[in-house]
Assembly symmetry: C2
Homo-oligomer: 352 residues x 2
């Protein structure tokens, strides 16, 4: 086969889908036909991809006829139902939901880290990691390759759009209510003004931070915290890796950040860590705090790589390294990684 | 001596001073005369304390004549100059700046943890810790007393008012510019709208998080991160304790939070940790995430204690515990702890 494969984009009308269409337009020469697919509710809309207005089709079995690769950016339960249907129709599914990530017969792929894993996909499905894992794993994986990772302690600063369009819209609406007022410094202010309805978040997000992301997992851990642990272990093929994550939502629209404490098998130095990060694919090293250079969501949003700064060796442990990462949760954290995986599969259709 | 001591409040007109006057009014029976003192710029203003309008005096040597205890809530360099002058005049100084915290002849006191330390003060000065240390140390110290702390990895979520009134005012002004717009999700948006002037912060704070607090310390560490390590070691009398801190400013007005990963000498259990935290002085245990109960700044602001939630044992380490704390940086993080120390000293004037 030396033809351009046919692509289906399932979930084309969501927050991630919007970014995906931008990325597909930038990588215009990879794909043959591109079919846009959504829930029946959003079907019929026309969206621009590669400069062409394209009508969005409703999700049905028939839509996968002749499709080589199908990207899914939809809720877990939709993926769980429909990805096997698409695979049965012969499409290779690249799924960004959590539905298949921990399935031993589904590879979990970050192209900068484990591109080889994409080839072994007995169910015809390849999974893309959670957006928070993705913000951290490219840098952590590059350092692991040199120093041998033994433990991660991470705390997240996660953006509102991690729960989709409704998250960003809720934060904007809350900010409109509190901005320009004297509110927020006195007890109960924020809840009084914003009312009981906190949208997709379990507490007000404007002028606040919320130490709970996802659903209840086990033993007090949130689902998001367990995902970071489980997915990191699988991607790095380190099933015994110690991982402790605390996931916190912050009033940022797009771009997740993490403070990372990493412990390695071998002694680390900042100069060598800088060399590794400066040349690692998908990473921007931005680390000169004395000059005001460290990653912040405001600077990182809309860019493809993850940005790394605040690199320093643990003061009490020559095998410990601290760093801070920021990555756009809609780009590398979702659409971009899915597109990169799909392009790895597409390359099988167009051998050198 | 069995009289009520005379108190001077130096820095009465600042953000912390405002909260201090509320606290002094609530604890109205501790003090004899209360003198309010400020820089010459703010002197002459009248402020209410214990229901009386009191004129603010300018900071001079003479203002300390007859003063038993002087609280200082002023910048480091003002404390460095004036605290020894007040001490030479016979006042016991309780200083909330960083000027004397690491002086071996100055005790660093958290009344819930090391109240005994207040008695040994060869310079006549007692120091109160940094606001970020204070948000975490009461809970960590209570757990240490039972399990024996061996390592801390903490990431902070610090409020704008940690740099004083200008911090909160800057955040409010920035929010007014971005709220009600579509800004913040596209590259460069926030910087373009807010301009080059980011006030007391090294980057825009609205719709952003800024992984840099304080000044440049050493080897890539910020002064704030080093303070947490040094002060925690001194307060807990654990000079070898491993501490790694990452300090991050978030768009919250008041109340600092920290995600804490603590490792102990002994095995920990969540039920026992809950028992300890539920009965620890100065701590509110608020930990039932399935019911939506975890500390957030919006709920904690304006309250005296530190609130602890998200308590869980590390999944890969029976000696590891994770938790999340929030404490009002102007109350326990500053004015309240200073007032508590001053009351410990005042008790020496009023023996049982």
């Amino acid at each position: 086969m030396t033809r351009r494969p046919t692509l289906a984009v399932v979930g084309a009308t969501g927050a991630v889908g919007e970014v995906m269409l931008q990325i597909l337009s930038q990588h215009a020469d990879v794909w043959g036909d591109i079919r846009l697919v959504s829930s029946p509710r959003s079907a019929g809309r026309k969206l621009a991809v590669r400069g062409e207005e394209t009508e969005v089709a409703a999700l049905t079995e028939e839509v996968f006829e002749g499709v080589d690769i199908a990207m899914f950016d939809v809720p877990d339960e939709v993926s769980a139902q429909w990805a096997p249907i698409a695979a049965a129709k012969g499409a290779v599914v690249v799924d960004s939901s959590a539905a298949f990530r921990m399935d031993p017969d589904v590879p979990l792929v970050v192209p900068e880290i484990n591109p080889h894993a994409v080839r072994l996909r007995p169910r015809g499905i390849v999974a893309s990691p959670n957006c928070t894992t993705l913000a951290m794993i490219v840098a952590a994986g590059a350092l692991h390759a040199e120093f041998g990772l033994s433990e991660l302690v991470v705390s997240s600063y996660q953006a509102a759009s991690g729960v989709g369009r409704a998250g960003a819209e809720t934060l904007r609406a809350q900010l409109s209510l509190v901005a320009g007022t004297e509110l927020g410094a006195a007890p109960g202010d924020v809840r009084r003004v914003l009312g009981e309805d906190t949208g997709p978040f379990p507490a007000p997000l404007a002028l606040n931070v919320v130490p709970w992301v996802g659903t209840y997992g086990q033993d007090g851990w949130s689902s998001e915290e367990l995902k970071i642990r489980d997915e990191t272990r699988k991607i790095l093929d380190l099933p015994q890796l110690r991982v402790s994550a605390t996931c916190v939502r912050v009033p940022v629209l797009n771009t997740h950040s993490l403070a990372v404490h990493a412990r390695f098998e071998h002694e680390v130095t900042v100069p060598r860590a800088h060399e590794i990060l400066a040349t690692a694919p998908g990473v921007v090293l931005f680390d000169d705090p004395a000059a005001g250079n460290f990653p912040t969501p405001a600077d990182v949003v809309g860019t493809d790589p993850v940005w790394v700064g605040r690199v320093r060796r643990s003061l009490d442990d020559p095998q410990g390294l601290e760093f801070f990462v920021s990555g756009d949760n809609l780009r590398k954290g979702a659409a971009l990684n899915t597109a990169q995986i799909a392009e790895l599969v597409a390359a099988e259709f167009m051998p050198l």
